[in-house]
């Protein structure tokens, strides 16, 4: 089939960027969306033009690297699917497709369809973990977790950190991403110990990074390739309310302090 593409081209963060028109000919329905772009790029390269830059790695829907907004929807029209797993049989001959990068103040554009999502990593760095050292932990079966809790934690933990939720949210909020992480750890006994500190520091980090706030538009869930549930946002809010009155302490144990030599 033949398609008309309007693709966002932007040299770097300083460039203003614009949509450019490309014709994609001879596209077969068995191709993935990224393979369709590969074909377009191959032609561009041979014509001496610069190919469209886009992020991708596993092409299996698990690494969360691919990130494009297709006709206004992050990851495209097929629900619960990443761009790399989206196939051209979802489109028909003659379609016009708009391809844009994820848009959010917290995600500056690096080039064309590639954005910088390191803000999500910094949110995790702010406290999205259990502060355990390597070694010296008890036997795995000494921590019991009810099956239902373990399964719910796993549902939350499926988040691939793709940032589609942010790009779809009318407020540019990373709430679903946070909700996934906070809920996963808060469901487990190992994670409860630090639950208050975790939720507080992650939420502060979210504001600091320039993400918006959640006002429950629920767009995020609709585009999330892993179907992270909205009830996890409620859980995040619950955890946040539980942390009222908690006074933040610094994680001083992360790195051994200078050892003072006594006597």
């Amino acid at each position: 089939m033949n398609l008309t593409l309007f693709v966002w081209r932007q040299k770097g963060p300083e460039d203003t960027g614009r949509l450019e028109r490309y014709e994609a000919g001879d596209i077969s329905t068995g191709m993935s969306f990224l393979e369709m772009l590969d074909v377009v790029n191959d032609k561009l390269i041979k014509n001496g033009e610069e190919p469209i830059a886009f992020d991708h790695d596993c092409r299996e829907g698990i690494c969360g690297t691919c990130s494009q907004v297709i006709n206004g929807v992050p990851h495209g029209p097929e629900g619960k699917t990443t761009v790399c797993q989206l196939h051209m049989r979802n489109f028909s001959d003659g379609d016009t497709i708009y391809i844009e990068p994820l848009k959010s103040k917290a995600f500056p554009v690096i080039s064309d369809l590639i954005v910088d999502r390191s803000a999500l990593d910094r949110i995790i760095q702010a406290g999205g973990y259990i502060s355990v050292h390597t070694g010296g932990v008890p036997d795995a079966n000494t921590i019991l977790v009810a099956k239902h809790d373990a399964d719910t934690a796993m549902d939350a933990a499926e988040c691939i950190g793709c940032g589609a939720c942010v790009a779809a949210c009318p407020n540019g909020s990373a709430m679903l991403f946070l909700a996934a992480r906070v809920s996963h750890l808060a469901m487990l006994p190992q994670g409860r110990v630090e639950a208050k500190r975790r939720v507080r520091s992650m939420i502060s980090a979210m504001s600091k990074e320039g993400f918006g706030n959640c006002s429950n538009h629920y767009e995020c869930h609709a585009v999330c390739p892993k179907g992270i549930k909205l009830s996890f946002i409620a859980k995040l809010n619950r955890e946040f309310i539980k942390a009222f009155g908690y006074v933040a302490e610094k994680d001083s144990a992360a790195r051994p302090a200078d050892v003072s030599i006594a006597d």
Binding site: D57, I62, V132, T134, R255, P256
Partner: protein, 637 residues
């Protein structure tokens, strides 16, 4: 040269304890003065960087993705082994050790594999403490399943996303150290060179993939955790960016590359659908528990599968391996599938596929049970192929999946270059000629959490920290050479894209150096690869410039290395005149078609040394001594 694996002496079960008690330690307040570079943030890299940072070292971590969490380890589905024996089915450290050695067809180092089995239990404890949501039973205890033909249930899993959850565990430990300032993270940064000064690894040269800047980092030791090289086949189950560059550049600086021809082909992947194919997708092996594999008996039979009557179908795995049937090990079922397709009996586009049929199982236990067991896999299959596998059989085909070979390391995970440590899939150490399912995750985490913290301390304790900086002439030379190389790539300005060459190389590797291999086919590959390489350097076209984000340039660098490395695989496969594990040479088989191993002549690790461009590399051997187990025929009949 005869290589020494530096294994400790003494009884197998005490070797690691012995080595640990001998190793030197570093005073806690001194640790911060040592800088360690960790390349890669997969299971091996993230666990190593986190553990080393926590101990107080200054760690610089690198990855080419935009986040450490996107390393290819994230894609592992099935599970991770450990010798916990929770199900009380007779497992234990020795049994896991033995199965792994046997699975590797007796081409791995006893002491390493035993240690791997020992630390496997600590890995599970560590991951649970980090909050990895492993599957649980109704009483709240950890659940296990059996995997890859093992007779015990020792595989721990988190839905079909075990690799993801383990990596996120390691990533969170790493994130905590980044927050604490002990690890500095460099994403979208690609290692292009190893810097060796006076025989010791002292740092790396990298390209900033956003600005194009070539920079160097000096350190007291370097850990390479850069993953496997199976993408030399172009189409594989690995991530598009997985590469051999980090390892190959170390090889060019003198590190030995061991057993490169041990490449694993996974039997159950979704077949290629056309020339545009960029990537192959793995379908969990568990499908083979209920699916029956067949092809038509006649060649060129292109009736739809449901129209082919039972008596005209060839259930070739059940026919050839009545004992294991559809569950025969990976290498055996992959080879069998390729054979029937090469006979012209393959199905689907280009005849590259065999049927995996669930009709029998659906009739027996009902569609709803099948849906319960494999629903997500059937959905994924439908998303990719547009076919409903409840109605018609799935089509599967083997695909390159894992690299058992890699940089040579001794028992301490140190390569022959002092101060260069290699962890995870990037080293050759634990899987011999064939890796069993659920054991790569174990190895990556074992290396990173529980082995490197000890062995690197022993190395560093003997050195004064910070004796060189990245202004040392050797670093400057490395940067200059990389800049020249990049300029050279741009100056070619030919007519073919990098992908054209990559596909060509992949085709040759698959057809002549894949599975099975013969002296004739390998020689053919040795003839073709240099031709492709020569044309690459004359006719490749890379648009844009080197001083910006340029994905074609990144790919070109990787493909250039694959074009040399492919030849090394072929040489290694050609020299190894035996069949073992994943390495199947048609000349060396039993009358019934089984692999014929030659323990007399090839019971060694083959480690290659780079001798210069267009020069024959030199082979060094590390003999494999089996003190504790009897070499036996690996039979799955």
């Amino acid at each position: 040269m005869i290589l020494d694996g530096k294994c400790p002496s003494g009884p197998l079960s005490e070797k690691w304890d012995k080595r640990r008690s001998e190793m030197r330690l570093i005073n806690p307040s001194n640790k911060r003065r040592y800088k360690i570079i960790v390349v890669g943030t997969g299971l091996a890299g993230a666990s190593a960087a986190a553990s080393l940072g926590e101990l107080g070292y200054n760690v610089e971590a690198f990855c080419y993705q935009d986040s450490p969490r996107r390393a290819h380890s994230i894609a592992a589905q099935g599970g991770i082994n450990a010798a916990k024996n929770y199900p009380n089915d007779g497992d234990g450290i020795y049994r896991l050790f033995y199965d792994t050695i046997k699975g590797g067809d007796f081409r791995s180092r006893e002491a390493n594999v035993y240690r791997l089995a020992q630390v496997s239990n600590n890995i599970i404890d560590q991951c649970v403490a980090q909050g990895v949501p492993f599957a649980r039973d109704y009483a709240g205890y950890l659940d296990n399943r059996s995997f890859g033909g093992a007779q015990v249930s020792r595989t721990f899993y988190a839905k079909g996303q075990t690799g993801q959850q383990l990596l996120l565990g390691a990533y969170s430990a790493l994130s905590r150290q980044i927050n604490a300032g002990s690890v500095r993270l460099h994403t979208r940064t690609e290692m292009l060179d190893l810097v060796v000064i006076e025989g010791e690894a002292r740092g790396i040269t990298v390209r900033d993939m956003i600005t194009g800047e070539i920079r160097s980092y000096a350190a007291d030791a370097v850990c390479l955790c850069s993953g496997g090289y199976i993408n030399v086949f172009c189409l594989s189950t690995n991530g598009m960016g997985s590469n051999v560059t980090a390892a190959y550049r170390a090889y060019k600086k003198g590190a030995f590359l061991a057993n490169p021809c041990f490449t694993q082909i996974h039997p159950t992947c979704i077949p290629v659908s056309g020339d545009h194919q960029s990537k192959l997708t793995l379908m969990s092996e568990s499908l083979r528990n209920d699916g029956r594999v067949w092809v038509p008996k006649k060649t060129g039979d292109n009736r739809s599968p449901r129209e082919i009557p039972e008596e005209e179908r060839d259930y070739y795995l059940e026919r050839k391996y009545p004992g294991f049937g559809n569950l025969a090990p990976r290498d055996i079922s992959s080879r069998a599938a390729k054979e029937v397709c090469d006979e012209g009996r393959g199905v689907g586009p280009g005849g590259r596929g065999v049927y995996l049929d669930f009709a029998g199982a659906i009739a027996r236990i009902g569609e709803s049970v099948i849906r319960q067991r494999y629903g997500n896999l059937f959905d994924m299959y439908e998303r990719i192929t547009g076919e409903n596998a409840y109605r018609q059989p799935m089509r599967i085909y083997p695909a390159p999946h894992y690299a058992m070979g890699g940089l040579w390391v001794d028992y301490n995970l140190e390569s022959n270059i002092r101060g260069l440590f290699v962890l995870g899939e990037a080293n050759f150490s634990d899987h011999g000629a064939n890796r069993l399912g659920a054991s790569a995750l174990m190895q990556g985490l074992g290396d990173g959490y529980f082995i490197i913290p000890y062995t690197i301390a022993d190395y560093l304790a003997q050195r004064t920290p910070g004796t060189v900086t990245s202004e040392h002439p050797e670093f400057r030379r490395s940067r200059d050479e990389r800049a020249v190389e990049i300029k050279r790539l741009f100056s070619i300005n030919g007519r073919k894209s990098v992908n054209d060459f990559y596909r060509e190389l992949g085709g040759v590797m698959w057809d002549y150096a894949g599975l099975p291999r013969s002296e004739e086919s390998l020689k053919k590959a040795l003839e073709l690869i240099p031709r492709i390489r020569a044309e690459f350097w004359e006719n490749v076209k890379i648009p844009g410039s080197g001083s910006e984000l340029n994905q074609e340039l990144e790919k070109a660098g990787r493909v250039a290395d694959f074009l040399e490395f492919g030849e090394l695989i072929t040489l290694d496969a050609l020299h190894r005149n035996e069949s073992c594990g994943s390495h199947f040479r048609v000349e060396y088989q039993m009358p019934d078609g089984e692999a014929r191993r030659d323990d007399e002549n090839f019971c060694y690790v083959g480690a290659w040394q780079y001798m210069g461009a267009d020069k024959m590399p030199e082979l060094h051997k590390e003999p494999l001594d089996f003190e504790n187990i009897q070499l036996s025929v690996r039979s799955y009949k």
